[in-house]
């Protein structure tokens, strides 16, 4: 079936010119890609197709002779995904090669009807497969873009707050998976260094479930902080979480945990040699003895 290769080689310039012309009629997007770039990509793909057909035939596009073509298509597809082309535009890049290719095939094999039909059939199947490769690569690239954006969102949603000199608070809202943990650790540890804070209160009130995995993530964070010389206190442990932790047999022996953030803060203050006192000169409410709450 190397007729396809020969036909393309002999008519390369014409096929490419018609191809580009057809593309610009339907879907060129000159706002996203220059003519020279388009020309280069078309040229490269045509020669990769010729090579593929010559080395491994026109049917098995997973064979080694087609590696160059596959990689080229993946690169073209991924870069177009990043540039903002739609999936239709990307697939059309390949599919619009059909018309000019068929025209050349018909011209070359005019005298041999049977061969003509076979060759056109092989060519259309080939281009379909190549189009599928581009679509798949496009989707993969899009997914990567989305996950990159998710990552950026993650970084925005784990603020580290300075409660006092040397005491930080890190409220975690939402699930704590391994990706989030990396972000949390980086943020926390960098802030620890920047503020020279020895204490970090990790508040998990907003973490819906704490299972063994989440506990591992928390422990990782605590260990990393400890290696640097900072102590972590976990606060916001809800009763259900406490039960889960015990049921799962999670070992939190070395970790200080508190139910409330305020308790954790008081502890951090105490450990850093501070205490909170009430001013003697504050105005005394005449019925304060009735309103007084226990302040220990």
């Amino acid at each position: 079936m190397s007729e396809i290769a020969e036909i393309i080689s002999k008519n390369e310039d014409r096929i490419r010119a018609e191809w580009i012309r057809d593309m610009s009629k339907s879907v060129q997007r000159s706002d996203l890609m220059s003519k020279t770039e388009l020309d280069e990509q078309s040229r490269a793909l045509l020669s990769a197709i010729v090579q593929g057909v010559k080395m491994s035939g026109p049917t098995d596009v997973s064979a080694s002779g087609w590696t160059a073509a596959r990689e080229l298509l993946q690169d073209i597809s991924a870069s177009r995904a990043w540039q903002g082309f739609s999936s239709v535009e990307v697939a059309t890049f390949v599919l619009s090669l059909k018309q000019p290719l068929f025209a050349s095939i018909r011209e070359s094999l005019d005298k041999n009807q049977e061969k003509l039909l076979d060759t056109i059939w092989a060519a259309t199947e080939l281009l379909d497969r190549l189009a599928l490769i581009t679509t798949e690569a496009f989707l993969t690239a899009r997914e990567e873009l989305i996950s990159r954006q998710q990552q950026e969102l993650l970084e925005l949603s784990t603020p580290v707050v300075k409660l006092w000199d040397g005491i930080l608070a890190l409220p975690i809202i939402g699930t704590l998976d391994s990706a989030r943990t990396q972000v949390v650790m980086e943020n926390l540890l960098q802030t620890v260094v920047a503020t020279n804070s020895k204490y970090a209160i990790i508040d998990i009130t907003g973490v819906p479930t704490v299972d063994t995995l989440v506990a591992q993530h928390l422990l990782k964070t605590i260990t990393a902080a400890r290696l640097m010389g900072a102590e972590c206190i976990i606060s916001g442990v809800r009763p259900q979480i406490a039960q889960t932790i015990v049921h799962l047999g999670i070992n939190l022996e070395d970790v200080v945990t508190k139910a409330k953030l305020s308790d954790a803060f008081a502890l951090a203050l105490a450990r850093s040699g501070r205490t909170v006192t009430r001013l003697a000169s504050a105005p005394v409410n005449p019925i304060s003895h009735l309103l007084a709450k226990r302040e220990e």
């Binding site: 990689e71 993946q74 991924a78 870069s79 690569a137 993969t140 690239a141 980086e186």
Partner: protein
């Protein structure tokens, strides 16, 4: 996957391990890896280079810049003609938490990279391939 750049370094002395670390660091910086990712990769390289030297009786490290679709990354291949590893699963599970493990650092290194594969044959040698994507 295309390889854009490749270099092979020998791992014959303990100074070679330092040089290997520095080379990986340099290439990771050029590829603009984040600081944490750089540190993880260079540390993994240090572990594996040391393995090839101490356990594998010397070998080499190949460092490559690779490209797949729109991603780029660094691939490191550590090869030695040493005694090989009889039980890979056991080696990957080595107890490191106590900090006194006699393990080969394989389990730990695996966690520091995105891709990890190992080929080994007792009496013939070992080849560990790791990769980290940007």
């Amino acid at each position: 996957m295309s390889v854009l750049k490749r270099e092979v370094l020998p791992l014959k002395t303990s100074n070679d391990v330092v040089l290997a670390r520095q080379k990986v660091r340099q290439w990771a910086v050029e590829l603009r890896f984040s600081l944490v990712d750089q540190t993880k990769l260079v540390t993994a390289a240090s572990e594996l280079a040391r393995n090839a030297l101490d356990h594998g009786k010397g070998g080499s490290m190949t460092v490559e810049v690779v490209n797949v679709a729109a991603k780029s990354g660094l691939r490191l291949i550590f090869e030695d003609q040493g005694p090989g590893i009889p039980d890979i699963e056991l080696a990957l599970k080595d107890g490191f938490t106590s900090g006194s493990g006699m393990g080969l650092g394989l389990g730990g290194s695996k966690r520091l990279v995105n891709e990890f594969s190992i080929e080994t044959e007792v009496g013939k040698g070992t080849k560990v391939t790791v990769a980290r994507w940007r």
